[in-house]
Each structure stands twice: as C-alpha cells, then as structure tokens.
Symmetry: C2
Subunit: 201 residues, 2 copies
C-alpha cells in the first residue's frame, strides 16, 4: 500500500532494496535516500561494484562457491588438503569457516537444506555432485558442517546416507557449550548434547 | 577486523553495503549473498536501477527534491498552491508528507538540520535559497515542517528569524498527542505541548 510519490526510478530502487533480507520498505527507503544523497562516494561505487559482480562473479562448478575465477580460488589452491571436503549449506557458512581459518581442506556448498514443504528435495541441492566428488578417490573424509537446526541435521542425515556407498569417512561438527557460553542461558538441547559428549580432562 | 576471504569484488560489495544506514558488516554480507544467489531476478535489476539512478536522478535546483526532471515534477506542477512552501529537513520527510497527501503547496528541502558540533552551519543548508524563494513575491506562507527534535526545532527557530525580513507568514506543524497515542505511554514533553495547545470542542 506504499504510495508511489518519488518517480518510477526511485520507486523501483526502493522496491528492489526492500527484497534484500533484513530490509523492509521503510529501511529500503532510508538506504536509497542515503545512496542518492551520497551520489559520488556511495551510489556510483556501489553501482560499479554491482555491475562488476554481474559480469565477473560465477559459481564454482566443482564446489558451488562464488568467485571471479572458475574453479574458485579455494578449489585451485593446491596447498589445501584435497582429501577433506567440508559440506556447508550456504556460501555464507563457507565465509564464516574461512574467517575462522579452521578448514585446511576443500568445501562443498549444498545451496540450502532439505525442505519438502517448500518443494526443496535432494535434486534441488548439490548432493549428486558431492557424491561424485567423494567417490573420485582423492577424498578420505567428508565433514558435514551443516547448521545445528532440525532442517540442517536432517539434511546431514540424508547426505550421510547418500555418501555411505562411497566408503569415505563422514564426520560432523562437535555439539556442546559455545565458547563464552553461560550454562544458565543455554537451551536444554545444547546442555543435553554437551553432557552426552562430555570428555575426560 | 573482518578477514578478507571472498575475493576483492565480493569484499568491496560487502564494504559498500555496510555503509548504508541500518546495515552492519553482518547484514551487509547477508544482503550481498542474497544478491549473488538471486543473480537474474535481483542482482541484475538492482544493478541496472542503480545505473539509471546515477545517470538520471538529479537534485531540483529550486526545492532540493530528487527527481529525473529538473525542476522536479512537484515544482513543475502548476496545480499546486504556489503561495505555500513547506520546509523539510530531508527528501524522506517530503516523501512522508506526499504519502499522506496533505500538502497542496511546494516544498523546500534544507538538506539536514543545524548541528554546530558536526560543522553544519547555516551555509551548509539550503537556507539562502529558501529566503530568496520566500522573497520572490508569489509566496504567502512558509510552513516549517522540521522534526520535533531539539535540532529540528532550533533549526526552525533560525530559519524563522532569517525569513522575518521577507514578510511572509511563517508557521509550524501542530504538536500534541499523535493519533492512536495512549497518554500513559507519551513523554512529558508531548503531554505538556498537548495541554498548552488545548482547543475548545
């Protein structure tokens, strides 16, 4: 029900911004206004950066990562451990693991999680290509680093079943108390998982 | 301290998005990821809309509004009451008033409010051009529709002084209880203003 008052070009910008996650109509208007006010130091560079993204950023045919080279720079990096594939739901999860500098191996981006109610079955995710990579012979371990949500874990279960025939070791991230976490504020599920997986010191 | 992990093009997009109001590094990453995932139906249209904005949207030399025509379509609209100028801080305020379909007259966008500590003095705002317009002879009333904040009201005070020499009537928006407002939740300042400006029924 937002009235069109600012001319079709500005209105279209606002509508497109409002489709980004976390932005509603109101914050989209604020963002567009700030872009238009800062034409030279924000609107123009952002416009150019997006044009470049359209032209240059492609999905890696091997792992599903986004990069300007194909295969992506991670897949091309010969120093990485080619025997470990870390499976994530989204590219954002890959970025998070890379920021933590924790993964020495390669990645595989599924592109989401199974969600039958939304029509997202196994064929909509990059699962077949993962099985192919795992069966290629170089790979010894597949680590399922999916979200610790119901959807993520049931996807992990399904992927794990599909990988059984390849004979590679399948692992998952440890579950427990997060670093800095206060027991009093943690949910029961986390406490149960941490208790069950307790380790000797 | 965010580590660069996603290639310079994506990193630059994230940094530019993070400079928009309401977006931090994390939500900027989410927005960029969603753009890259939805290349055809979001990234490309948004890139084109921004390119069009760079090329076509200009500031109205008369009132400071943003539009693709110059003077802006509001200033060009002969049906509007040429004797009333509504002064606002930002184009977003002009949009809000236009959405409410409340203003029959023209606008004047100051471009902000006085803020000596931030180095924003009268010469940084479109005040001189407002005085010129008010003195042109067509204008009978200038309505100061500035924010009801300390900065907005002190700016209104200053603008009002500057307009004194032109002889036009200077007015401001009424202050009081907002429609739907519950007295129990209103601040003291609003209650005092509403009490002082009470009207006979």
């Amino acid at each position: 029900m937002s009235k069109k008052i600012a001319g079709p070009e500005i209105e279209r910008l606002v509508q497109l911004f409002a489709r980004l996650p976390g932005l509603g109509p109101r914050s989209a208007r604020k963002a567009v206004l700030s872009l238009l006010k800062r034409r030279d130091d924000l609107l123009m560079p952002l416009s150019e950066a997006m044009q470049q993204a359209v032209e240059r950023i492609v999905q890696c045919p091997s792992c599903g990562n986004l990069d300007t080279v194909s295969p992506c720079s991670i897949c091309q990096d010969a120093r990485r451990d080619q025997s470990l594939i870390v499976v994530v739901e989204e590219v954002g999860d890959l970025w998070a693991l890379e920021r933590a500098s924790v993964v020495s191996g390669l990645y595989h981006v599924l592109g989401g999680h199974l969600s039958p109610l939304d029509g997202i079955g196994p064929d909509k995710l990059n699962i077949a290509s993962l099985v192919n990579r795992a069966a290629s012979g170089d790979v010894k371990e597949v680590l399922l680093a999916l979200n610790a949500t119901v959807e993520g874990q049931s996807t992990a279960h399904y992927v794990s079943d599909r990988l059984a025939s390849t004979g590679v070791a399948v692992s998952r991230l440890a579950q427990g108390v997060p670093i800095g976490g206060e027991l009093d504020y943690l949910d029961d599920g986390t406490l149960v998982a941490a208790f069950k997986a307790r380790r000797r010191v």
